[in-house]
Amino acid sequence: MSEKPQTAFVITANRLSDGTVVYLDDQSRWIEQLDGAPSTTHAAERDRLLAFARSCERDVCGPYVIDFTLRPDGTRSLSVRERLRALGAEDARRRLGY
């Protein structure tokens, strides 16, 4: 049997102080792990979270919504850009040999 894949949303931004990729968690905190960020499938909730994110001008820059497909097994299909963002700066440096 096949369940219909759902479109889900996570709010992301870059930290003002150093540009680190961050995600909005369910306590309205900005965290570095995508896995710790809850995703919502409700457009209204997405809009509420984005509005909140935009009010965090002093902490983060350029908040936006990542939308992805939530597969039936719970994994997320992300663009290559978002996969690399989610791996973080440390991983980027390791990949580059630094």
Binding site: N14, L16, V80, R85, G88
Partner: protein, 568 residues
Amino acid sequence: MYQYDEYDRRTVEQRARQLRDQVERRVRGELSEEEFRPLRLQNGLYLQLHAYMLRIAIPYGLLSSVQLRKLAFVTRRFDRGYAHFTTRQNLQLNWPRLEDVPSILDELAAVEMHAIQTSGNCIRNITADPFAGVAKDEDVDPRPYCEILRQWSTFHPEFAHLPRKFKLALTGATNDRAAIAVHDIGIRALRNDAGEIGFEYFVGGGQGRTPQLAERISPFVRERDLLSYTEAVLRVYNLDGRRDNKYKARIKILVKELGAPEFTRRVEEEHAKIKDDEGLVLDAREVARMTAYFEPPRYEAFTNGHTSLDGLRLGKDRPLARWVTGNVIAHRAPGYAIVQLSLKSKDLPPGDVTADQMDAVAELADRYSFGRLVVTHRQNLVLTDVPIRDLPAVHAALQAQGFATPNVGTVTDMIACPGLDYCDLANARSIPIADQITKRFDDLDFVFDVGPLTLNISGCINACGHHHVGNIGILGIDKMGEEFYQVMLGGSAGAGVGGGDASLAKILGRAFSADEIVDAVEKVVRTYVDVRNEADETFIETYRRLGPDPFKEALYGAHPAASQRTAL
């Protein structure tokens, strides 16, 4: 080399102070990101995928050892110990913290450096022939004119908000090593039959999503008119350039839409009105003042021995011979040589250097090359004035630092943009592809046999990696959420790099996955080796003789038309 006067010094100090104030206003919450963004961009400060990036201007690529040591210090103190030289002859820091950037600018100001106009829709850092002043094929040293234009363009109040960014490149040599055909303005300084200096003037070249070669709009702009003519071009562009669509806003689109004759007519009409303005007429005294800054250093007179590279090229020391053949170029002064440092090795991404390497190169520049060095638009460094006598010692020192790979001008001397490892705009990674290509072509005998070949990689359509003018160009794209790479062939930035006249590369066929692309590149190279006429027919010559078909067949089989249809 130009030395700052009190005015230049004050300007860069005040610029650092202005940014410090702007950063403080942003951190205090008085400026929103939307308001702050254009301000930081005018200081070359970008927000990239994982971090801020600061682009530091290196006017026409010329550096002193003192400046390079400062860059090493800044890289170590405020970043993570390495930095990246770009195709605009600039240096980029990859991981600075926002609050440190004003301090970085203060440090740079102390050695006559800055990040002014390294971003934004203004006249960007001016680039030039990296061999300016030492090349044998040079008629006129372009650097005094670069400096005159740098000062004219610095905070030019009328042209700080152009429709789009604006890039100038200058050469004064027969062979174009500055890629003047793919700049918004490309200028070749030359002498007419009467011996007077003037400028062959090209406008409207560029890469990006609409690649175009520049049109020659004047065969000879008089020296006195350099500023007035350039001001006329910029005024026509500022008033008439498109502002309704950012992708059609570059001057190349204006030149294309109007046609070169009409564009030229508008420039000439404007120029006629301003050419005698006292504020714009360049006079001989100012040219002489600027030229004095770029006088050749006090060369030693080498009377016997050590005046030819041939001995070293044919010598028994094979690594030295190969290095002198590949990376060292004949100099205008007897007994001297131009030494190119390859920033393309197995150890670091193309164009990257560590702080320790910068210090070491600064030391070499002091010992062997009058304390000067140059950044090339192919992301290498040059020691411009090395005595031939010292080449073995310099070679040994460069080997120790990882700069002696004898691959300059070959398939592994790649241009590569930072790509999706760093860049917010990229669609695909460039650096891992460059790394794989370096490893695939690690047989120097084969690389030497293949000969002159430019391979340029961009991680997106913006073409920072100059894929349109690579003999082989690779363009990263995002195809259904995965990284894919298109192969383009037949590009050339000009006679100095890649051979012949400038030309734009054409897409060969469907794109390749990250796993396939290096095999595809190797097939292209091996096909060239198979079909070239003689061992000395270069890749671009072969491509121009035969066209894309042998390469298409090698990559896509016998039915190139079918693969063309599915090309992205």
